[in-house]
């Protein structure tokens, strides 16, 4: 009887993977992505809000005598927040810091105070002076839009369900009050 030939399998053998086709694909893909990539991500400032906040804004619009919050920006004196409740007017000020720049942490704190006192208000009227740079206007709008501290939230009522909830949004609706002024 003939002995059966046993095929020897070497389990310890190594082989080299041919990476050349993979590299060829990558070499083609990288320039395509390099051309179409956006390295500077651009955003727009808009009021894209949770539904609850949008409903609250609509409610505020229905109010015949709403509380209004106006922000006056001056390059020399800083920020003045004017709160008008019917006949009563309250003015809060935040001066420039030692570097003669807008004191953003204090502005944020002041907006939080105003929001705590008037949780129903979502709209602010911006009135920057003509010489205030665009960068500063955007920075102040940023401070007014949302609370930077995730622990500081503001009460809001869901108009559909009637459930009380909270939001980080303070004054997301910005209107330039002096746009039509001469």
């Amino acid at each position: 009887m003939r002995a059966r030939k046993k095929i020897k399998i070497n389990h310890n053998s190594e082989f080299e993977l041919d990476l050349a086709p993979l590299l060829a694909v990558m070499v083609k893909l990288v320039p395509v992505l390099l051309v179409s990539s956006a390295f500077v991500q651009m955003m727009i400032i808009e009021t894209d809000l949770p539904q609850v906040v949008q409903q609250a804004i609509e409610e505020q619009k229905k109010d015949p005598k709403p509380t209004s919050v106006a922000v006056e920006m001056s390059k020399k004196t800083g920020i003045k927040i004017v709160i008008t409740e019917g006949e009563k007017q309250t003015i809060e000020t935040v001066s420039l810091n030692a570097k003669q720049e807008y004191d953003l942490p204090n502005i944020q704190a002041k907006f939080q105070e105003v929001k705590k006192a008037h949780p129903e208000v979502f709209k602010i009227e911006m009135n920057p002076d003509a010489d205030v740079p665009y960068k500063d206007v955007v920075q102040v709008m940023d401070e007014a839009r949302k609370s930077r501290n995730n622990d500081i939230k503001f009460p809001i009522k869901d108009q559909k369900t009637g459930v009380d909830t909270t939001t980080l949004y303070m004054f997301p609706e910005v209107v330039f009050g002096n746009m039509m002024d001469g």
């Binding site: 990558m26 991500q41 651009m42 955003m43 894209d48 003509a130 740079p133 665009y134 940023d142 746009m179």
Partner: protein, 162 residues
């Protein structure tokens, strides 16, 4: 007897290039580029001479007419409509009866209104302004845009951290 000059023997042989490390590098590059790939519905090309301010807004740009203002010129899309000198719009472009009204911009926006009726109906404007431009100059542009039927102004900014 003359001595023969020694000529080294050069063997003609091929060798395998190790491309593993190069593949590694390309893989990392590919992942990075895929992450940065523009995924928004509208891609905005940066305008020369315009340094946008940064903001913590998280909203992606929408399709709308683009107005840009740098320290040298005011443009609507790619068309130059007015000169900017010392961070203010040149007096020649301002209406003599209304100091906030930029006549050439108004004319261009009116033309846009006729040519792109559907887009113009939204009243949206993407506003790319240099961060150093004072509000007084921006106000003139915003005023003119709202007069031309574009009251919905969206400030284009760079994402904070860029």
């Amino acid at each position: 007897m003359r001595r023969t000059r020694y000529v080294p023997e050069i063997k003609k042989q091929s060798f395998g290039l190790n491309i593993t490390s190069m593949t590694d590098m390309f893989t990392i590059l590919l992942v990075f580029l895929l992450q940065n790939f523009a995924a928004g519905e509208v891609a905005i090309d940066p305008v020369a001479g315009v340094r946008l301010p940064s903001s913590n807004s998280e909203k992606n740009p929408v399709n709308a007419v683009k107005i840009s203002i740098s320290s040298t010129e005011l443009k609507m899309d790619l068309i130059k409509v007015a000169d900017v000198q010392n961070n203010s719009i040149s007096a020649a472009s301002i209406d003599p009866n209304d100091s906030n009204f930029v006549k050439p911009l108004f004319d261009e926006l009116q033309k846009f209104n006729k040519e792109h009726e559907k887009l113009a109906k939204t009243g949206k404007v993407l506003f790319l302004a240099d961060q150093a431009i004072p509000y007084g100059t921006l106000r003139k542009v915003m005023y003119t845009a709202s007069m031309a039927g574009f009251p919905n102004i969206k400030f284009v900014t760079t994402a904070a951290g860029n």
